[in-house]
């Protein structure tokens, strides 16, 4: 029997997410904590951080504690026309944390849709990302971008590979002064720099954003804009979305819609997602993939209510109290819906609502 009041807020959230994903036909995917290191060495840039914890297995193979879940799912994905593999997971991954630069165990819950995917699947995944955050808090926002739009802008401007890598960082920071510096450094003309500066200020509600894009000369005929428009139309009124082109994922892996999720009261982005067909191609698979992951440990503090005590009743018995009597008393209290800790003396750190001392 599940007594929800004893679930921690993150456990309640994971439970809600599992039931949500199951309803939409996503199947649970449980995997081992270890993976051959080779998989990550070949796709280093796909990983959020470079640090991977490795060790040698008994047979001499170099293994890694999983820094990422998506690569393992893709590796095992099956291919068939018209078919998609839809899975969800709740796993711990091991990474170097950005701010502390130390290894950290991070709890992720997410889903992947891999195979012969189309715009419906992208829409379903983005919509599920919104529903996931809504299950955690009503104050959320899913921020969407399309890698194809940035590619179109960069194509218009032109430049070297080195320029693309550096300018991506400036765009991520919405830093207009650095865009200008970077353009000067790589010999990109003023028009190009101005276009990029304008581009990073384009964010907000879809209707406003599409208007601004066309003012920048990015026409609706562009396939990426068409796709983003169709997605926004499908999600209209069903999810709290905004568009923001400062989400720049690695262009070697991501090719279409990319999105992030934020919850009011959590200082970091809690959800990362996107379409990564190029990663599948790199790994020798046909078709495409789209998915997202929620950092469940970041949301642990949300909706946390402090009861102010650890147990309802602290039951103190004596050395000479018959054990049967103690057992009966404990069972009776539990049957009344109370939590109880039976002790012979009061523990130093235990907080209790009520103290009961048993007589002999």
């Amino acid at each position: 029997m599940l007594d929800e009041k004893y679930l921690k807020s993150e456990e309640r959230i994971i439970f809600a997410l599992r039931s949500l994903y199951s309803k939409y036909g996503y199947l649970p995917y449980k995997m081992s904590k270890f993976e051959e290191y080779d998989l990550y060495a070949k796709n280093k840039e796909f990983l959020v951080s470079d640090g991977v914890i490795t060790f040698t297995d008994t047979n001499g193979k170099l293994l890694a504690l999983k820094p990422d879940v998506t690569l393992s799912i893709i590796k095992n994905a099956t291919e068939a026309k018209g078919v998609k593999q839809k899975v969800y997971y709740s796993e711990n991954v091991y990474r170097v944390s950005g701010s502390t630069r130390q290894y950290k165990e991070i709890m992720q819950t997410g889903l992947e849709c891999i195979g012969d995917i189309d715009l419906y699947d992208v829409c379903e995944v983005v919509s599920l990302s919104a529903k996931s955050l809504e299950a955690i808090s009503k104050d959320y926002v899913i921020e969407i971008s399309h890698m194809g739009i940035l590619s179109a802008v960069l194509e218009k401007i032109g430049g070297s590979e080195g320029f693309f890598a550096e300018i991506a960082e400036c765009i991520r920071k919405k830093s207009q002064h650095e865009i200008i510096e970077c353009c000067e450094k790589y010999g990109v003309d003023k028009n190009g720099a101005n276009l990029l500066c304008e581009f990073v200020t384009v964010y907000g509600a879809p209707s406003v954003v599409f208007e601004k894009l066309s003012a920048l000369g990015l026409e609706d005929s562009l396939p990426a804009i068409k796709e983003l428009k169709s997605l926004c139309a499908l999600l209209d009124g069903k999810a709290q979305i905004s568009l923001d082109f400062s989400i720049v994922n690695d262009m070697n892996y991501y090719n279409g819609i990319v999105f992030n999720g934020f919850i009011k009261g959590v200082c970091e982005c809690v959800l990362f997602g996107g379409r990564y067909d190029k990663l599948l191609t790199k790994m020798g698979k046909s078709g495409g993939g789209v998915g997202f992951a929620i950092y469940t440990d970041l949301i642990a503090g949300i909706n946390k209510e402090s009861k102010g005590y650890d147990v309802d009743v602290l039951l103190i018995y004596k050395d000479e109290t018959p054990y049967k009597k103690v057992e009966d008393a404990v069972e009776w209290l539990v049957s009344q819906g109370k939590s109880v800790s039976a002790q012979k003396s009061i523990p130093e750190k235990l907080r209790y609502k009520e103290l009961k001392e048993m007589e002999d």
């Binding site: 950005g98 701010s99 926002v141 830093s175 907000g204 934020f262 009011k264 970091e268």
Partner: protein, 209 residues
């Protein structure tokens, strides 16, 4: 309410004046007392002074929605924040300095004393130069004088301290100035207010140019 982390010291005071001139003043900040937080509820703004190197931590972790810190701190700690504006104040440079007579002939590992281990490592890694980082927390200029290091990587403002100690700049790594940084999540939920503050500050920066 917008929480602003200001760097303690002269730079922070300059920055506060820019906020005040933009209409986000908070008179209680000028009172001489030991309060840590200063609030102007009418303007919806709250300021607090923090150690300059801690500003990015307060902002990245959301304790402050916005903050002002030097580019040196951003390069060293690489926080995941928006960097909306170059305030064009607190200008200086990150540089390699050494004794005047020092010449790096690349023949041995270079001993580098610095507060900015990340910046120094990246700079020399880009040149494939083998270095030994000596992390210090202050009085960096002392290191080459006492032969603790060959060079130092540090902030140089006027160069007076270097000159007085027979040191000189050998190479500039990057120019530094104060930047307006914003927590990414705060920007999503307080967009209009933050945009307004950034626009007002930008207008002042452009007027001072």
């Amino acid at each position: 309410m917008i929480n602003v982390a200001l760097p303690k010291g002269r730079l922070g005071e300059k920055v506060y004046n820019m906020f005040a001139q933009s209409g986000y003043d908070c008179p209680s900040i000028l009172e001489n007392n030991r309060k840590l937080i200063f609030e102007n509820p009418q303007k919806g703004i709250r300021f607090f002074w923090v150690k300059p190197s801690d500003v990015s931590i307060y902002v990245e972790r959301g304790a402050a929605d916005i903050g002002v810190c030097g580019k040196d701190i951003l390069l060293e700690y690489e926080p995941d924040v928006y960097e909306l504006l170059d305030l064009n104040i607190g200008k200086c440079k990150m540089a390699v300095a050494a004794k005047k007579e020092f010449y790096d002939d690349n023949s041995s590992t270079l001993r580098v004393a610095t507060k900015f281990a990340n910046i120094a490592s990246k700079h020399y890694a880009s040149k494939c130069r083998d270095i030994d980082i000596i992390k210090l927390n202050g009085s960096i200029e002392l290191a080459p004088i006492l032969d603790l290091s060959d060079v130092i990587v540090d902030i140089v403002e006027t160069g007076t301290t270097l000159k007085e100690n027979n040191l000189e700049v050998k190479e500039t790594i990057v120019p530094i100035s104060a930047r307006l940084i914003v927590n990414k999540a705060s920007f999503k939920f307080k967009t209009e207010k933050i945009e307004n503050i950034a626009a007002m500050l930008k207008a002042q920066v452009e007027a001072n140019d």
